[in-house]
Subunit: 426 residues, 2 copies
């Protein structure tokens, strides 16, 4: 894998060490009027910021490192809130698109560190639109992670067809699918996770703003209440059906299982995906009102676990090894279990959603399912095919679907999202 | 005001002292299978809970008292998250509706205390639907408040026309309104605020479930990131335009201002509203992408404050007294200020919202504005009329609207939501 284009963009330099925290900018902001009148630009702004920087490390808490072999936001302990956006690329200019990826990387590097986009806070010039939209000023980094993915349709553009991974298949139609094209697919995705929703929303909004004229948001989804935990020992969260969800999920510390089931290895190919993963996103609407009228026994039969503790049928504790044959043949846990799927295992990172009410007074609520895997064919597809007879299907419907190749991590301050894909032919 | 119907409903008894916390129920839940097999009912369930109750007070933290002269959720320090629902009443049976108000009160009393709905957690019987949907089990009370309101259209039902307060007007059409009837009005509303969105969503969902066949959700709205603070000294949160919002809001501790501007007094009438308030809810869409392309100077001119600190034009600090004449004539702060509106003052309790993307790739985001006042005519209407020339109108649009009479608080374990309205003629 030749890296012929690792030159940093102007926005790509790492200002982490000297740049202001979001909190520090508040102090600077008080001089907004004076600054506006003087139109003094970045230098003055930086000085002002410098006067007001918090003691070292005061705002470091809650920042997840942006650089690494893998992108953050996959094996990272799951944050409380999600803003997920799928974008379509509108530019046909490859250089402009590569520049956008570099600009996005620079912005993501700053925002995940708790910094405003742009060195001079609002750009320094009162006559210009601010570099940062401002609503996250004063908020902590909140463990923000930003994770980018490339959808199948991207590989029909920019002469990328030969680089499309075999593992990035177009998902087949599954039994019961009722997919809304306006909530499906996309050339790109960015998953923003943070413990504060305003921080996640701020990040997606600023990336959309930076991408104006080159990309447009195709659909987006907010989520809350992490339904699956990648933190070992943490209490397993409950989904909106009231059941614990993610009991047997892969923990971020299980490097063996991550290597086996999540990360793309050198031998898997293509080379540009080494260290990456594949993401399947599914918007799963729950028929909440029907579920709520269902007896406890039926609910527990459907899942194959009891509702309170989450113990598998016939067992006492949540983490007891399930005895699948004690469950009904169509129990969800039985059908989804690796033993029923030739060992297929995925890392789940889903969030609950509630998007108001549909025209019939029913909650538009459910699970925004996010799963990472080393090969979509061996992971989600195999499991979802087996769920065709799932008893749960009476109470849910998949209404949105997308799949993305998630490239490896950004190594350092000179690296950028997608370099391994785009640099070799840049 | 005669109280002829203060007899508690079966669900109205206060079990606060002896009932299990959400967390304690987790321990019980582990016996779900055994309980289901035995169908032992509430008694056994309570015993099991009793075995597993946390040490006294361990879960009391984060519970806001439900009983009081005023409903909680108005002057209560603003929680982080909102789920707001407007309902239409579908039953024509007055007794059935009154029973629903009592059942709702009982459920609200338990949920705000961090307890599951129903004494026996899932009802005790495996053959029955659970009394509680379960997704808040194990979560803290999270400062949940539930606040009910009665819309103008309710007073056309159940022979209530004579009880409709003069102050509960149908809002006039304001300049620029583009109201969606599917996001407006409603016979009832419930405002659920909590620091955990799953707790707020759980509460609305369970009230909707309890109301099945009597009421139906007309519309609902999720919100986050409290844009106005009723906590004195707390940092003022920022709205999605990046500006601090709520600098001069009424603090929950300012009893004089609350009595003057928020609570309905005995002399105001009607008697059943004494201790209540009036709520105006407006869904205000922000033209985010247009705003983000606007210069810092223009943004600050529009608001009349600087963006970083939030100081009024010409002043240094956020809480400095504004000098209105230094602002442009159409500045938002100038036009909304009490000095420009004959002293009109409202308690704001709004939340930011982001509901994905519209068909044009633009964020469907903005401010879900909630304002409480003693008289709608003297509060919101006066201010909103003056905002007809607001420079901010170029960047926002009101797309949903509703108004509600918010009755006084539930006094004790025998009291229920709406008693002062319904009991006198029951």
């Amino acid at each position: 894998m030749t890296d012929t284009d690792s030159t940093p963009s102007t926005g790509g330099t790492d200002h982490t060490a000297k740049a202001p925290s979001r909190r520090a900018l508040i102090g600077w902001g008080g001089a907004g009027l004076a600054l506006g009148a003087a139109a003094a630009g970045g230098a003055v702004a930086m000085t002002r910021v410098g006067n007001d920087v918090d003691p070292a490390g005061a705002d470091a808490g809650g920042a997840v490192p942006f650089h690494g072999a893998h992108q953050a936001g996959i094996s990272t302990p799951v944050q409380d809130r999600l803003h997920f956006a799928a974008f379509d690329v509108t530019t046909r200019d490859r250089a402009a698109f590569v520049q956008l990826l570099k600009d996005w990387t620079a912005a993501a590097r700053r925002m995940t560190a708790g910094q405003a986009v742009g060195e001079g806070a609002y750009g320094g010039l009162a006559e210009a639109p601010p570099d940062d939209t401002g609503e996250a000023l004063g908020l902590k980094p909140s463990r923000l992670t930003l994770t980018i993915g490339f959808g199948p349709s991207l590989f029909t553009k920019f002469d990328l067809a030969a680089q499309r991974p075999d593992a990035l298949i177009d998902l087949p139609k599954f039994a019961g699918d009722a997919l809304d094209p306006n909530r499906s697919h996309g050339d790109l995705c960015v998953q923003a996770c943070a413990d504060d929703p305003q921080v996640a929303v701020h990040a997606i909004r600023n990336l959309a703003r930076i991408g104006m004229g080159k990309v447009v948001i195709r659909w987006s989804q907010l989520g809350f209440g992490k339904t699956s935990s990648t933190t070992p020992g943490a209490q397993t969260p409950r989904n909106l059906m009231g059941f614990k969800d993610g009991t047997r999920n892969i923990a971020g510390t299980e490097t063996d299982r991550l290597d086996k089931f999540v990360w793309v290895g050198e031998k898997d190919g293509p080379g540009w995906m080494t260290g990456g993963s594949y993401l399947v996103a599914r918007r799963i609407r729950m028929h909440i009102e029907t579920w709520d009228r269902t007896s406890l026994q039926e609910q527990e039969d459907v899942f194959g676990r009891d509702k309170g503790e989450g113990a598998p049928v016939g067992k006492a504790k949540e983490h007891d090894e399930p005895f699948l044959k004690a469950m009904k043949p169509d129990a969800h846990v039985r059908l989804a279990h690796p033993h029923s799927n030739g060992g297929a295992t995925i890392l789940r990172r889903g969030y609950s959603f509630t998007d108001g009410t549909d025209g019939l007074g029913r909650l538009d609520a459910g699970l925004f399912f996010l799963a990472y895997q080393r090969d979509v064919r061996e992971g989600f597809v195999r499991i979802q095919r087996n769920l065709a007879t799932d008893a749960l299907n009476e109470y849910i419907q998949h209404v949105g679907s997308a799949v993305f190749a998630v490239p490896p991590g950004v190594r350092d301050a000179d690296d950028w999202w997608g370099r391994t894909l785009f640099a070799k032919e840049a």
